[in-house]
Each structure stands twice: as C-alpha cells, then as structure tokens.
C-alpha cells in the first residue's frame, strides 16, 4: 500500500523566466543528474521528504502563456526561489518586472532566494561540482561541451547593451552584486527591514544545474530556512486551522468524499 497522501508541511516555489533552468535545477537536485528538459507546462508539483517534514516544491512554467497561474502557485508559499540566467541580463530584469508581483500571495514571512543559474558558462569554479555525490563523468562531459574562453567575464556587461551576445562566448551579464541589489529591492518592495531579514549572502546563489555546482547547497539551505516556518505553522494550526491553505484544501476533499460515497 502506498502511503496515504503525505500532507505537505510547507511550500516552496521556483519562479523565473523561461529557459533559465528551473526544471533542470530541481531535476539535478531530485534525480542527481542533468537532462535536457522540455518547456514546463503550467506547474509541476513535487514532494520532498526532509527529515520528518514533507516539503512541496512547485516548479512553475516561465512562459508568459502561464503567467496568470503564478499567483495561484505562490499562494501560501513559505519560500520563493527567484531564478535567473547569469548569461542573460533580461532574465534578472524579468524577475522584478514580471515575477515579483506574483509573490504577493505568498506568506508574509516568505523567504526569498535569488539564484543565478548556468554559472558553469561563465565561471570556471562552477565546473567543479559541489554536490556530495557529483559524478565524475558528468563533469568531463560538461568540460567538453562548455569550455568557452573566459576573457570577457571580468567586465560585467552594462544592462543596456546586449550586443556582445552575438559572439561565440557567453559571458557573465549578471554579477553577484546585481543579484544582491535585487534582493535589497525585493525587501523594500515587501516592506521588510533589511536588518531583521536574512542577509543577502545567505540567500543569493550562483548555481549550475549542468555540473551540480551549488545546487544541493541551494535547496538544503532553503529547506533549513523554512523549518521555523513549519514549526510556527503547526503551532498556529492548533489554534486556528483556517489560516492554512493546504488544510482547507484537505477539508474540501473530505467534503467531496462525504458527498459521493
């Protein structure tokens, strides 16, 4: 018998423009490998066992087609991972323009992480997998495929001129500082005090789903960060169960069962 519906304790959402690698990141973390993925339709729901807790992860589609669904996926989220592509300035800009407003439905104490994926394209150190069980053949494979000259990576591209993209080498368009600055703006947008919130260095990551660089660190940090929120939620639930979205959904289906059987 498969276990009864494991009730998710907490919700984590991946947001970001299409092609930044949200599905690949999650796939790298869950399945320990990098695979060509197709564009996600709608959103995909995953359940991750983390210690005694069940963490639900929503991998959302970055396409504009599904934009309207974003706020639904974000409802009641305890953590949102805003993902961009380090080789694409626009993907960072889109986070602010298009995705930040979707998080209005997230919890008031939601944790935000800013993740620059595809770091292997710009950063030699991202070629060394930092996963605990990084497969050696994975690395060699990516060395072959993605050994671009790194000449230009020292000077960050000014946001206004994406012209250099036409060259063969992909160079870093978004620096870590850009991401940190965005984090500051997000806190201001949410009306949160920078001092009482998590420091930027804790929640701004550069990752590579291709090599596995920093991927485990990202997800595990996030899981640890949402634990207090789980405990608080459990505590709150004992007093007023109506606050919880998942629980009210559960009530919904219980009602259904009474109705039909």
């Amino acid at each position: 018998m498969p276990d009864k519906m494991k009730r998710p304790d907490v919700k984590l959402v991946l947001l970001g423009d299409m092609n930044v690698g949200k599905t690949s990141l999650l796939h790298r973390y869950m399945e320990r490998k990098f695979k060509e993925t197709v564009s996600t339709v709608g959103g995909a729901f995953f359940l991750k066992q983390w210690g005694p807790y069940n963490i639900s992860i929503w991998d959302t589609a970055g396409r504009e087609q599904f934009h309207g669904l974003g706020s639904m996926y974000c409802r009641g989220a305890a953590a949102v991972i805003l993902t961009y592509d380090v080789t694409n300035w626009q993907s960072l800009a889109e986070l602010e323009e298009r995705f930040l407003s979707l998080t209005d439905t997230a919890n008031h104490d939601c944790i935000y992480a800013i993740v620059g994926n595809k770091a292997d394209l710009t950063d030699p150190k991202a070629h060394l997998s930092r996963t605990s069980d990084g497969q050696p053949e994975d690395q060699t494979e990516c060395e072959e495929e993605r050994t671009e000259p790194q000449v230009l990576s020292a000077c960050p591209t000014p946001p206004a001129s994406p012209a250099s993209l036409s060259g063969v080498m992909l160079h870093k368009q978004v620096t870590h500082e850009d991401a940190v600055a965005l984090y500051g703006r997000i806190l201001r947008y949410k009306g949160l005090d920078e001092k009482s919130s998590l420091p930027a260095e804790k929640v701004c990551f550069e990752t590579s789903a291709k090599t596995g660089y920093n991927v485990d660190a990202l997800f595990e940090t996030m899981f640890d960060l949402v634990l207090p929120s789980i405990l608080r939620k459990r505590h709150e639930n004992q007093e007023s169960p109506t606050v919880d979205l998942e629980d009210s959904q559960g009530a919904h289906s219980r009602k259904a069962r009474i109705g039909c059987c």
């Binding site: 599905t23 060509e36 339709v41 694409n88 993209l165």
Partner: protein
C-alpha cells in the same frame, strides 16, 4: 473536423476539375472502380492545370520585389533576397494554379490582370511594414533580434529551429507548416527560425491579402511538386507547403489540428482579444516554449493515422480489466471533475466522463488527440504531478480546463493518469483522487496487468494475404453519442521500417482522399499498387481500409474482408471502449465549463490583460 471539411467542400465544388482518368460517372462496384483506377497510384498533378488560373505570379513583379527590397531595408544580409527568389521560383516555375472561391470566373481573370501592377507594389509595402515592425517598434527588449540570437545559442535550442532556411535541405522537407498573424508577423514555422522566414511569411500574407482584396479567399496553390494550402482562422493564417501528395482537404484538416493546438494553449477568445487590441502583436511571446508541442503534433499527424481518421485508438484490453479500471476511476472523484482518462503507451485505456457535461456535448477525438500530444510533449520530467490549464477547442474554444497529469508507474512512465477539472484551485483535491486511484490499482494489481496489454498482430485475425487494416465503426452500441474510435493491428513486416510505414500510410491517405473526395466521393476502392493491393470500403456502419499482399485476387480480398469483419465483431469488447462509463460530480452549474460566468474570469485572469 468532418464538419469543417464538409462546408469547405461545398464551396470548393466550384473550382473542381476532374482529371481525365476520373471523368466517368461515380461507381459503387468493385469492377468499375478497378477499371477506373488502373495502376495509377496518384493522379498526375499536372492534370490540374486544366482548372482556371485565377492569379499567376508575374516574373516582372517578382523582380520588382527583389529590386526594391534592399532599399526598404539595407540591414539584412543577402539571404533575404535569396529567399524571395526561392518563393518566386517555387510558385512560378510550373505555372501555379491559384484556386480561390471566385464568384464569377470571367471577371475574376480580368481583375487579376488589372491588379497585377499594383500587386508588386503591394508586396513591397507589405514587406516594408513587416521590417519596420521587426526593428523594434513596440517590441519589448526581451524579444529584440539581438537577444533572440543569444537565446538561440543556448543548448536548449537544437532541433529544426536553427536550420539554414536558404539551404536546399530546408526546401526538401516533405511538409512545411507556417503560422502567421494577419499583420504578416511570423508565429511558427515547422523548420527554421521564424525570424529568418519573416519575408517569406510576408509574401504569404501578401498572397492572402491580394486575393482578399477582390473579396475572395485564397485556398490553395498547386505547382508541379508542391501543394500550398491556406487556412484563415480569425486573426491567424496557417499555410502548409507539402510535397506529400495529400489532398487539399487532408492538408487543411492538418492545419486545423495546428490551429486547435494553439487554441488549446491560449483559447480562441484571448487570441482574438489580443489581436483586437494590437494588430501587430507578436504571438510568439505567448507561444514561446510551445514550439515543441506543435512540432510533436506535426510529427504525430504524419505518423499516426488517428488524425487522418479523426478517431481515437484504444489499447486492446480484456473487457473485465477495462471495466475494473473504469470502476476505479469512477470511484475517485471530487467536485468539478469532468473527465478521467487513463493512458498506457500513448493509447487510451479508458475514459470516464461526467454525466451532465457529456449530456451537454460530446468529447471529440481531436480534443483527445491534443491531450495525448500534450502529454507526450511534456513528459520530460516525469516524477512530478503537473497542473496546467488547457482548452479543449472542440468542446469549448473559449475556456480552460485544468489538467492534472501524473504517471502511475515511475520510473517507466508508460501509464499516465489525466484528470480534468473545471476548477483552477482544485489541484490538491484532484491529487487526492490520484492517490485513491493509485491505491485501488495497487490492490487489484492493475499495473502489471496493464503492462501485459499490447496491440495485436494481424496474424491473430487468421486471414492469409491480409497485411494490415484500419477499421472505424460508426455503429455504437450505446444509445448516446460516443467517442469515435478505430482499431488497427501493429504495422509489421514488410512495414517494419519507418520508410515503409510511411509508405503504407501514404497509400491509406490516398485511399482516404479518394473515398472522401468532395467532387466524387466513392464507397469502395480496389487499388492495385506496385507492392500491395488495397481495398477501402465505406458503409453507413463503418469505414475500412485494408492492405493485402500484391497477389491477392478480388474474390479473395472480399472473402478476407468478410472474415475480418466477423473477427472484429467477435473481438469488439476487447478492441473498443464499448460502454464509456460515467460519473456524477454534480458540478455547481455556474462552474460548468459551458460558458459560465466563472469561465470568463478564468480566461481573463490568465495574464493576457496585463499584456495589452
């Protein structure tokens, strides 16, 4: 689909010209059909030149276009010029026949001649307009040409997107499909990037507009090797350039599938709304990422006869097993659930429908095909549970259902559960239904039983000389309208290889086009081809296509068909979903998907308004 074809057929009657070999009166008997057909596999397309040429590409005009192009826009490299020429030669070399829906032939010809000088200018104007739009007027930074070039370098863009559209190999593709907006903006191309093809698409739009300006609708262009079919649906123009020798109706039917697939992602209402607000909107913004779904659809259309027959293929299954699976689905319900579909190896196992919804309207095979294609195209990450809006265009083109898609047998991922709800927020409730289904299937050991199910071999029929068949019954045992199905054995030797499969399908397509010819529909065709003999037969009860070894005699074939029909009758319960089960989730009437208030909300709520 059938309905659409029918209407078009009536209109089309005007331009029909029978090739000489078909000039005899219709025949229902085997003997006459045989004598008519002879050994010609395909009618020679040149024969069609007999029909009136409504508009002809004038070489003088085309040189105008190429000459003017650089002054309009100096920036693009020379391949733009090459493309225009390509387009010209493609259509002009063999004196193409443009068939339209003329009200009056005689005046039409004159009008076309008078307009020819204008048309060159018109084409240039069209192209100039397209160029201006491309150069960033009203284009957001993200879709600027430079950035687009950047994204294309990323490894996710492989396949046909970065194909060189000036290469011969590009022109050699058997079937091209293009989608553009009425403003001539490229939306989709099956091969090559839309940007590189923007001037080609501009020429297509110019053709459409030119014929439109004299109150006509362009339907097709025939050249020696290609058939170009146009389909206008609302603000979208779909064009197919095919060398597959399929009939115009079949190609138009395929374009309809492409249109429906786009509708299934965006809904008809929002597409019209978008283009009402902004004529030159770049729809690729909304379809970005969906190219694979359209690519997948077109590959399926070419390789899966379900599309040709407009019927669904279900996996043969002992009726007791199918019934028990249906019962499992019937028990796992939640409010607003409307369809529960179980799929194995991309074929239907069973489909359970909401009672009141299905009384209202029926589920069309085309909608099921789109669902199956969506599942196939989104299966990359199979461990998760997908929740996505999807529109079933033949059910209701203007509203969304919410589809829950999950595989029941990871990591194999061959058995897929699809649950459709009208409630956007019902994910957790619907996921709970899956849990129940999973449990019940576990106790009944259903998965291992399903794993044993497979399509059948034609040898099981026990008729020698019969190599393959497709049988689509119309007589359904149930008294209410049912999903159209067909049954067909595996394609085995000598049709094992991809090329041979395609060849057999092409033969079937040819038989189908003869049977369903709008000018002269047939009931029975006995066709002796080079390497096999085919017999197609349509009655009020069924449509049947059979393929025999080449040495079969007519008498033999008829006996064989009698035996085959008897076998199908005997196996009916296993081959088809006989009594589609239903359940009642008593949906709140206002939530019903048929034009309720909530639907209006759903479609407007999907982010489109924010784009305008």
């Amino acid at each position: 689909m059938e309905r659409a074809n029918h209407q078009e057929g009536e209109a089309q009657g005007v331009r029909i010209c029978d090739p000489p070999s078909e000039s005899n009166p219709p025949a229902d008997t085997l003997a006459t059909s045989l004598s008519l057909l002879g050994n010609h596999m395909f009618p020679d397309p040149v024969e069609r030149l007999g029909s009136t040429t409504v508009s002809r590409d004038d070489p003088a005009n085309s040189s105008d276009v190429t000459a003017e192009e650089p002054s309009v826009d100096a920036e693009p490299p020379s391949n733009q010029l090459m493309k225009l020429e390509t387009e010209d030669t493609e259509t002009s070399e063999s004196q193409p026949v443009v068939s339209a829906q003329p009200a009056d032939r005689g005046t039409e010809d004159a009008a076309a001649d008078n307009d020819q000088n204008d048309s060159g200018e018109f084409v240039v104007a069209m192209l100039a307009k397209a160029k201006l739009e491309e150069q960033g007027i009203g284009v957001k930074g993200r879709s600027s040409p430079l950035l687009e070039a950047g994204t294309q370098e990323s490894p996710t863009f492989t396949s046909h997107r970065d194909e060189d559209v000036t290469a011969d190999s590009w022109r050699q593709h058997r079937k091209h499909v293009f989608v553009l907006s009425e403003a001539g903006k490229p939306i989709y191309s099956r091969y090559g990037s839309e940007e590189a093809l923007s001037s080609t698409m501009g020429v297509m739009m110019a053709l459409v507009s030119f014929v439109q300006s004299s109150d006509n609708i362009i339907r097709s262009v025939y050249s020696e090797e290609h058939t170009v079919v146009f389909l206008q649906k609302g603000p979208l123009v779909l064009v197919c350039v095919s060398s597959s020798r399929q009939s115009e109706q079949q190609l138009r039917g395929e374009l309809m599938y492409v249109y429906y697939q786009i509708i299934s992602m965006l809904t008809q209402a929002s597409i019209s709304r978008i283009f009402e607000h902004k004529k030159n909107y770049d729809l690729r913004r909304l379809l970005a990422g969906s190219e694979k779904i359209l690519d997948g659809l077109l590959n399926l259309v070419d390789s899966d006869p379900s599309f040709l027959l407009a019927a669904v293929h279900c996996l043969p299954l002992a009726s007791s097993l199918r019934d028990s699976l249906s019962q499992i689905l019937q028990k796992a319900i939640t409010p607003n659930l409307v369809f529960s579909i179980l799929i194995a190896k991309n074929q239907l196992l069973t489909i359970v429908q909401e009672k009141t919804v299905i009384e209202d309207t029926r589920l069309e095979p085309a909608d099921v095909h789109l669902l199956l294609n969506l599942i196939g195209a989104s299966s990359a990450f199979q461990a998760g549970e997908i929740w996505t809006p999807i529109c079933l265009p033949l059910f209701n083109p203007d509203c969304y259902f919410y589809a829950y898609i999950s595989y029941l047998d990871p990591p194999d991922c061959t058995v897929c559960l699809l649950l459709l709800s009208t409630d956007k927020e019902a994910f957790y409730a619907v996921a709970e239904c899956k849990r129940k289904i999973e449990e019940a299937m576990e106790t009944q050991n259903s998965l291992s039983l399903i794993a044993k199910a497979q399509s059948y071999s034609v040898s099981q029929v026990g008729v020698s000389d019969l190599r393959h068949f497709m049988y689509k019954p119309f007589d359904v045992p149930d008294n209410y309208r049912q999903l159209t199905q067909f049954t067909s054995p595996e394609m085995e030797a000598p049709y094992g290889s991809e090329e041979e499969k395609m060849r057999l399908l092409d033969l079937y397509r040819y038989m189908h086009s003869r049977i369903h010819s709008t000018s002269r529909p047939l009931k029975l065709i006995y066709h002796v081809a080079e390497r096999e003999t085919l017999l197609a037969w349509v009655t009020s009860k069924f449509e049947l296509y059979t393929c025999f070894s080449p040495l079969v005699t007519k008498a033999c074939a008829i006996t064989a068909i009698t035996k085959l029909l008897r076998w199908i009758k005997k196996e009916e319960d296993r081959l088809f979903i006989r009594y589609p089960p239903k359940y009642s989730t008593t949906p709140n009437p206002s939530k019903s998907s048929r034009g309720g208030k909530s639907d209006q909300q759903d479609s407007t709520d999907n982010g489109f308004l924010s784009l305008l």
